[in-house]
Amino acid sequence: MTQSNAGHTLMKRSFRRKRLRENAAGLFFISPWLIGFLLLMFGPMMFSLGISFTEWNMVGSPKFIGLKNYIHMFTNDPFYFKSMIVTFKYVFIMVPLQVIFAILIAVLLNRATYGIKFFRSIFYLPSLIQGVTLALIFSWMLNDDFGPINYMLELVGLPRVHWLTDPNVALYALIFIALWGVGSPMVLYLSALRSVSSEYYEAADIDGAGPVRKFFNITIPLITPTILFNILTSLISAFQTIVLAFVLTGGGPANSTYFYSLHVYRNAFTHFKMGYASAMAWVMFILIVLLTGLVLASSKYWVHYEDDGGGR
């Protein structure tokens, strides 16, 4: 009796010790991320949240002004809504187009019999070129008077377009340029398409389904997990877009490419309005969280995972 009791407590103690050891080991292995998070994310985030309630130019000490920054951006800053609209336009045109193009090219490549590797590399190549260089190649190609694109337009009898200097066109020109980065999602779709079992298509053949029906009823549903991943990542990065506008248009012409992030950048690092810029950044953060949350919530209606039987 006493012996088994002792054994019991011993087991309990060793179990507890094992749990402790597991926790310590876990903590040890994730420590690089934990340290990085506390040092480079959590601390700065809390700091910027605090600063967003102050007026501060980085030199003196911050002056607490309550919600004034937040009130100011919604009531008094003429560029605020302008930049918000520009960013939303960019996101809601660019993200769907990118998803569609990436899928179409991947489907085409997947059907090709020759040279997949070669073409795959070609489509991926622009993603390897840094944003600044890619932007400048395009600024040259889209040059009003000396660019090859306008030259080609003229050759076929079309009028020249002021790609980057016409306020009605510039944003679309930037979207067009951004689409050259379609290579990285395309690679993801390609590997997703590869893992679609051919059984589904054979079954559809027996049912006499045409290529269009096969595409919409089999291919698309089976790659919806990749589509979700693609939408989330490009949504998050499109909202924060800045490099193209920074290098090519500086927000112009007539503020038609004045992105939200550019507005934040200018306020912070040109005008040193740190409090105001932090407040704007936080509004952006909350917007992105809400939108990704919305996409994730909607995903249960349209994303099919093969293992839960929803793949058909």
């Binding site: 840094q130 400048l136 893992s195 924060q240």
Partner: protein, 279 residues
Amino acid sequence: MHAIESKKRIQTILVLALIVLCAAAFLFPIAWMLSTAVKAPEDIFTPKPELIPSTWQWHNFADAWSAQPFGRFLLNTLIVVAVSTPFAMLSATMVAFGFARINFWGRSALFLFVIGTMVIPWDVTAIPLYIQYNKMGLINTLWPMILPGAFGSAFFIFLARQFIMGVPRDLDEAAEIDGCNRWQIYWSIILPLCRPIVVVIGVFHFVWCWNEFLTPLIFINDQSMYTLPLGINLFKNAFNIEYEKLMAVSCLSVLFPATLFYFTQNLILGGISLSGVKK
């Protein structure tokens, strides 16, 4: 029977033609970059731009390289990449091993949290980081470029965890019976098996560091600490853009990531598809 066969052949040709057309559109900007890089400045601003230059000025490359201290910029970029890439590979796999294999308290919630950090916009942390780096005396050094990747980024942790979860647990258990501790299991069993995903992380991180523009733009003002993207941007000022020089240096700069991608592409694409993006 014959009709079906020829219909199939026409389909194949159509698909191929479409691909070639798209590929040409994708190659055009790159061809344009190359051709501009060897053009004479007077050939650039002509109302009749040509893809094949009339004269090939190979000395553009040397001229452009010496127009700014690009040797220094290249060295800075190489230092950033060389220091941060090994850390990025190590920390991402280490953290992923912790999440995939060790049953510690709060593991799933914490992992969701890690993924959640991908949503934080750079705008939110940029300002406090600037202040923090400023206090630590790290503005105008390469550290702001090295540090974030070195601690393991969420995206890489996610990829590595997916991969490690696909490695059979029997291997760990056998090693444990042989008396290996957790670190030995990670270091001598899991890590060698993770080679494909480690290569993926290494290459992606390399390319990301190589091309990063915003981080050095914010944290580096001193020209001697510039990395290649900032150096290239120097050819563009408020008044004009020296296109031929800019394109020449851009060509040289893209050589590094392009070579790396060329030699690792099978591993990379294999690594991604193995790790899967489903869930």
